[in-house]
């Protein structure tokens, strides 16, 4: 999984809940109120960065060793993939 390229599904939109200031993931007829960590992960899931790169960025941001956060990041992505909200691509997406 570490060499894959996670991408937020096109039908999902990450935005800020105006009432609480917390991140919210909106998708057809559904929503998830996210914790800040999940939102930080999803912000990086553009289909161009690989998972290793994403974990490095998060490690830097949250000041934890990459191997510590890797299991949580993978768990989060797999859960969202099961809901069809994240794709795990084998090759990076084309484009700028």
């Amino acid at each position: 999984m570490i060499g894959s390229y996670p991408k937020l599904a096109a039908r999902a939109r990450l935005q800020t809940d105006p009432l609480t200031g917390k991140p919210a993931l909106l998708y057809p007829e559904g929503l998830l109120l996210l914790n800040p960590t999940a939102a930080a992960i999803l912000e990086l899931c553009d289909g161009k960065r690989d998972l290793a790169g994403i974990i490095d960025r998060l490690a830097e941001r949250f000041k934890s060793p990459p191997e510590m956060i890797q299991p949580d990041v993978e768990k989060c992505l797999l859960e969202l993939r099961a809901k069809g909200l994240v794709q795990i691509l084998d090759v990076p997406e084309e484009g700028a």
Binding site: A10, R11, R13, Q15, D17, P18, L19, T20, A24, L26, Y27, P28, E29, L31, R81, A82, K83, G84
Partner: protein, 384 residues
């Protein structure tokens, strides 16, 4: 967010019960080219009020967003009958809402779909009455199926996320596998297979529409198989008919708790069918602000929380799981909307419901004509 303790301090288990609307069902019009015999629209509206204008709807969307609403579902009737739909979608997006179109797809031409895309529409839900064209058109009361297939193709071509939904009943529930196949073929992301809820038109047609327990059980099994097989590709939602359940559905996730409906003439309802509860008086957005109606109106507070409950709900440990079930169903079947939903087998009115199911079953096999939905008589408004 407006967390509001719905209970006194002596009941700490409910002290954090809060209500905040996440979804607005915007019923833009009752006009519809289809005549489905299970339509959730009322059979008539009181008086001849005109539909809300473009400006009034935009105000409603703005106020809803300010109250915490994140989703707007444009529905009806057929929302494509409103020529200002694009403008309302633009408005919704401007206020930060995720915009969903709930449509029969009649009128969803390539040209219109492009306009909707440009306006910022986020997702499209198309109803299919059956996987079989002949039956589908018979249920819809008009030639619709082919248009729907084409509309679904257009929706996917333009990159809209697509939900296919089918209201299940006696005549189409055995098609569960072919309905799944149809949704897959159309490239749907979501498939909603919801058994008919028996209010309004559906209630009038219940002896014609209610499936047998055997049909329901088989369909549930096949839906579970499809859900497992398609996980991550297509979300499969199966809603049981609550006449065959032991416990009631958590209707609307609680009265006045997560959702609100604004109907074509501007009445604000806790759920689309609550207009059927004749003892409630609903406020109108032409007279009051949406926030006031949500927070303060008698109709929204009447069944909010758990204080209103009678036994067996009042002392039930599931009272904050299913909220006593559906108020409309309690009103319809017992005459009192505060009673436990007879879909619960703890309800003192359960026997009446079982008798009704038995009567519907006695009718199984005969195929009298459906009692088709007629336009309840909302008046179109000129574009403003």
């Amino acid at each position: 967010m407006n967390p509001q303790p719905a209970e006194s301090a002596q009941k700490p288990s409910t002290a954090f019960f809060s209500h905040r609307p996440f979804g607005l069902l915007a019923e833009l019009t009752y006009r519809c080219p289809l005549h489905c015999p299970y339509c959730s629209n009322p059979s008539k509206v009181s008086g001849k009020y005109p539909e809300l204008t473009t400006g009034e709807w935009k105000r409603v969307l703005k106020e809803a967003a300010g109250m915490g609403v994140l989703h707007v579902l444009f529905s009806g009737g057929e929302p494509l009958q409103r020529s200002d739909l694009e403008e309302l979608i633009e408005g919704g997006r401007q206020y930060g809402l995720y915009t969903n179109l709930i449509t029969s797809a009649l009128g969803f031409s390539l040209e219109r779909a492009k306009d909707l895309k440009k306006a910022g529409l986020d997702s499209v839900q198309i109803s299919f009455q059956s996987s079989d064209e002949g039956l589908a058109d018979e249920i819809a009361g008009t030639k619709a199926h082919r248009h729907k297939l084409e509309a679904a193709r257009v929706a996917r071509e333009l990159g809209f996320p697509l939900t296919v939904n089918t209201v299940l009943h006696r005549d189409n529930i055995d098609q569960l596998e072919s309905l799944v196949e149809l949704a897959e073929k159309l490239g749907a992301h979501r498939l909603e297979l919801a058994n008919t809820q028996y209010y309004g038109w559906a209630f009038q047609n219940k002896n014609r529409l209610l499936p047998t327990r055997d049909q329901v059980d088989k369909a549930a099994l096949r839906a579970t198989e499809a859900r497992t097989r398609l996980q991550g590709k297509m979300e499969v939602i199966y809603v049981v008919p609550d006449y065959y359940a032991d416990r009631p559905k958590p209707c609307m996730n609680g009265w006045g708790r997560r959702y609100l409906t604004v109907n074509p003439i501007g009445d604000v309802l806790p759920c689309p069918t609550s207009g059927e509860i004749k003892s409630l008086r609903f406020e109108n957005v032409r007279e009051k602000g949406l926030d006031w109606i949500w927070e303060k109106s008698e109709a929204f507070n009447r069944f909010r929380g758990t204080e209103w409950m009678l036994d067996p709900c009042r002392s039930c440990d599931r009272r904050e799981i299913d909220f006593g079930g559906c108020r409309c169903q309690a009103a319809l079947l017992t005459g009192d909307p505060a009673q436990a939903d007879p879909a619960c087998d703890l309800s003192p009115h359960r026997a009446g419901l079982l008798k009704m199911v038995e009567e519907a079953g006695a009718n199984f096999g005969s195929r009298p004509a459906y009692l088709y939905r007629r336009d309840p008589g909302s008046k179109a408004v000129e574009r403003t």
